[in-house]
Amino acid sequence: MAPLPYVYLKQTAVRLMKQITAVAVMVLTVLAATAASPDKQIVFHSAGDGMLVFVKPRKMAKTATSSASKPLDYDITLSTQSDTVSVTFTLVSKSASLRIDSTSVNSSLRYVNERLYVEPKSKNWIYRLRFKMPQDDFEATFCGDNPLELSVDNCGFQIPKKKQPKEAEICRTAVNIIEMNRK
């Protein structure tokens, strides 16, 4: 059997690359369209006499001086039966001795943390924590125009100024759902 000519192989490779690129673009377009809508980032369901709203996990970038190893992963839960908002987050740090008793929000507010678990992973420590804040404070900070800042001990995180409007819109949507279903 004669070997395939180089030109034929090259043309086949180019065609294959074009097809892969087209499929990748299609997948990315669908993913982008799905992620763009704020309500796609929210899960809501009835809970007893009220409603529970869950904002799917978001990411918050490290600040320049942060001692955290990775960006912060956080999710938010609101309920029509409560005036407080629950923020649950995962902090990753190389330090096993972080002071995790409280979280500072925008440097001006501070809330007591509930420790869900602390466990080692590779060379890091995973801290899973939760704090509750009044809904008014939540609307002033998470739904505000100023970039949101959270810090635990010397681990600081901030939403970039460019992303704050989109993140705030998601939080405002969650608050609106709660308010419209509150009796």
Partner: protein
Amino acid sequence: MKKIVCAAIAAVALSVASCGSMGMIYTDYTAAGTATSNTVGSKVGQSQRTSVLGLVAIGNSGIDAAAKAGGIKKISHVDVREFSVLGLFSTVTTYVYGE
């Protein structure tokens, strides 16, 4: 070349079809998981696994992982959300509700 492409499409279609009610082009639905006799609580936990191109799959979408992430000790019920585009990118997310 055409045979290879057709075979690849057929393989994806078969694998997607074998996954019950998953759509071949686009899937985004929530299915019932488990329910218990515990009252519906105010906490939610999420866990997720992701698959890319049907070649790489990572993550943990287990109920235990979701309950742990949400600090839930008494589970009231579980929902499972499946999302897929062309069977090439897919996620399975488990939501655990409870107290």
